[in-house]
């Protein structure tokens, strides 16, 4: 049975979406303060206007339903799906006002890319962009990465109403600590420790390479949230190549790995259970994945002979595998180098790294290592079963936080999401190819968008076809939500709209 939306449901959904929009508006205080303290008056007004419009629009929507309206599971799913779009729509406002974007659509592209921690960008003349605008671009990684929904749970809604159902809908349904409040606090705690440490480490790096103290600190903070939240924006047009520093790249890779680690694993390790890192199926699947892909990319680089010698293989081969696999998308190559210098095999390894992605319950994108591990176990299970006598009952076990038994339901779920990602990757690539881009590059860019990575072969640029911009926006959105929530949104609209029409006709 399909549940149709009643007017009350629509109002409830509007209420919570409104609250989220107000939250985004209030978050604009951060770039506003940055602008004022750096005396960037023009951007300061952009943020004041952004704040005003988002707060007004958000409050108006929130008024459609009374405070503490209960939120049921299906409505929570819809709010989650809508949240990314609604948040992007308002987060794009100040960016569009900055004058560094070709259109509102380009700004929306960046806002969606930022909030979904992707990192593809359509900004123009980035090297002259105000520091406060850069603050906002990177801050969207933090907002989106730690979850608009988790943020809403911890700030706007508290524990009343449908906090728990919102939380489940976002896909982070495994319990870390016994209750939501603890979980949210734990996520923010881990985040703040890593952000603080990363910022300090990178500030030191930046100071030693001769940046001014203020710029050092800001760049360090941005690079930290862009890598820890596996985003990939950079404050300079050269992205990570700007710093010309191996140490910088090393520190950011540590942050990327921290960002791709399942929050449950963080919790277990911080609690003192170090063994979990080695027993866990997801950690195993992820590290195996990285090692295999590094072997491929190294072989690929050895074949093209452009990048030779250990430092080059590490900084161009290994670095990009980490950047791709964790879903970060920082790159130290010029876009055209992917096809020309990097070579087919290594580029293929990077595409696979992006497609597979990091771990579940983290900000990484892609299919996720947990699902790959489960699918691998599932294949072993089926082979084992087919070899066993008919009467034997074969079970397959794996360790993820506890010892668990592999069930058909788990396997089905993993395979379905795997298939949906593959379908999205290929569809995006075909659309890109239809616009005349080479197939390899189109696939690279499509996977990069749908897996929320952000590496680019140069297809993503302000002059690209509008339809392709829309396709990538949709891919980033769908990939972040792991499809189900987005499909639920479309389905409920289609069903409700269809039902209403037939009702209208019958009456």
């Amino acid at each position: 049975m399909w549940v149709t939306l009643q007017r009350r449901d629509v109002r409830t959904i509007a209420h919570y979406t409104g609250l989220l929009i107000v939250g985004i508006g209030l978050a604009m205080i951060v770039p506003l303060v940055t602008a004022v303290s750096l005396k960037e008056w023009a951007p300061a007004l952009d943020y004041l206007m952004g704040m005003g419009i988002s707060c007004a629009a958000g409050m108006t929507l929130a008024l459609l339903s009374p405070k503490n309206t209960p939120l049921n599971r299906s409505n929570a799913l819809i709010v989650t799906a809508l949240a990314w779009l609604a948040a992007s729509l308002v987060a794009a406002l100040p960016l569009a006002l900055s004058g560094n974007y070709g259109s509102y659509l380009d700004a929306l592209f960046d806002a969606m890319s930022g909030l979904t921690t992707s990192g593809l960008t359509l900004v123009q003349d980035l090297d002259h962009l105000a520091l406060s605008h850069n603050m906002w671009r990177h801050f969207t990684h933090l907002i989106g990465g730690q979850g608009i929904v988790v943020a809403a749970v911890s700030i706007a809604i508290g524990l009343r109403g449908g906090a728990m159902s919102l939380y489940i809908a976002e896909g982070r349904d495994e319990k870390i600590l016994p209750n939501v409040m603890h979980t949210t606090r734990f996520i923010w705690f881990v985040t703040s420790v890593y952000v603080a440490l990363g910022t300090i480490a990178l500030t030191i790096v930046n100071l030693t390479i001769g940046m001014e103290p203020v710029r050092s600190g800001l760049h360090a903070f941005w690079a930290t949230i862009a890598t820890y939240d596996t985003g990939g924006f950079g404050p300079q047009s050269m992205n990570a190549l700007y710093y010309h520093s191996g140490v910088f790249e090393f520190v950011t890779v540590v942050l990327m790995i921290a960002g791709t680690l399942n929050f449950n694993l963080h919790a277990d390790v911080w609690r003192g259970d170090r063994g979990e890192l080695f027993k866990n199926i997801e950690a195993r699947a992820w590290s195996t994945n990285v090692v295999v892909l590094v072997v491929f990319s190294t072989l690929g680089l050895a074949a093209t002979r452009v990048f030779t010698g250990v430092p080059e293989i590490i900084r161009k081969g290994v670095y990009h595998i980490f950047s791709a696999n964790t879903g970060t998308g920082h790159q130290t190559l010029y876009a055209a180098q992917w096809a020309r210098d990097y070579g087919g095999l290594a580029m293929g390894a990077v595409i696979l790294a992006m497609a597979f992605g990091g771990m579940a319950s983290s900000t990484a994108g892609g299919i996720k290592a947990l699902r790959l591990g489960v699918i691998f176990k599932g294949i072993v299970w089926r082979i084992h079963e087919s070899l066993a006598p008919k009467s034997a009952v074969i079970t397959e076990r794996f360790h993820h936080l506890d010892d668990r038994e592999l069930t058909d339901a788990l396997l089905n779920n993993a395979l379905m999401v795997f298939m949906l990602y593959m379908f999205t990757y290929v569809t995006g690539a075909l659309i890109g190819a239809a616009y005349g881009y080479p197939m390899g590059e189109a696939l690279f860019e499509s996977v990069s968008a749908a897996a929320n990575v952000g590496l680019s072969t140069g297809i993503t640029n302000p002059a690209m076809p509008t339809v392709l911009k829309l396709v990538y926006i949709l891919q980033m959105w769908a990939g972040r939500l792991e499809f189900v929530a987005l499909f639920a949104l479309f389905a409920s609209f289609v069903v409700s709209f269809g039902r209403r029409r037939t009702e209208g006709r019958s009456s």
């Binding site: 206007m49 007004a56 409050m59 003349d125 090297d127 105000a130 700007y242 010309h244 452009v306 010029y334």
Partner: protein
């Protein structure tokens, strides 16, 4: 004998040809964008391009710095002795258009010295036009819209919003 001579001549011509070709194309005029797009095979060639120096000089080692020189929206890393970079005084950022400089140097598609980064090792730097301040005029109407929006939001938030309210019982 004549055959041998012809052969020798041919060999000399062939041996000299690459050198002659290189000699003619000693300095190739490019832009950072053409270098980055790899449309021409210039690895190891001496190139000349001009562009705006952005953001800051970054320390590379004891004696050298990096300047990131931008043209057509693409910035290229230029590795050069620190004293040569001293000529640059204004760097491009939000408040400034940086000095426009002309760089002559050796282009590396994947520099072995610098971890495979694409870069140019400069031998010459000429200041073409000094940098200027960029004027950014704040547009007050944006502030007005913002303040009005905030006032609307504030008044909305003061309105009573409980379930007993008539407005919510319409359906």
């Amino acid at each position: 004998m004549r055959r041998v001579l012809t052969l020798l001549l041919a060999i000399t011509v062939f041996a000299l040809m690459p050198t002659a070709a290189l000699g003619a194309a000693a300095i190739v005029d490019v832009t950072p964008a053409t270098l980055a797009s790899l449309t021409e095979d210039l690895d190891g060639a001496t190139v000349r391009f001009s562009g705006e120096v952005v953001s800051e000089a970054l320390r590379a080692d004891e004696t050298h710095v990096w300047l990131n020189v931008s043209g057509d929206g693409v910035a290229m890393g230029v590795y050069l002795p620190a004293e040569m970079a001293d000529k640059v005084t204004t760097f491009g950022d939000y408040a400034h258009s940086g000095d426009v400089v002309e760089i002559v140097g050796v282009y590396h598609e994947a520099c072995d010295e610098h971890g495979g980064d694409m870069d140019v090792h400069a031998t010459e730097l000429t200041l073409i036009t000094p940098g200027t301040e960029r004027e950014q005029r704040p547009q007050l109407w944006k502030g007005v819209v913002g303040v009005v929006g905030l006032i609307v939001a504030f008044t909305q938030s003061r309105r009573p919003r409980d379930a007993s309210d008539k407005r919510y019982s319409s359906d």
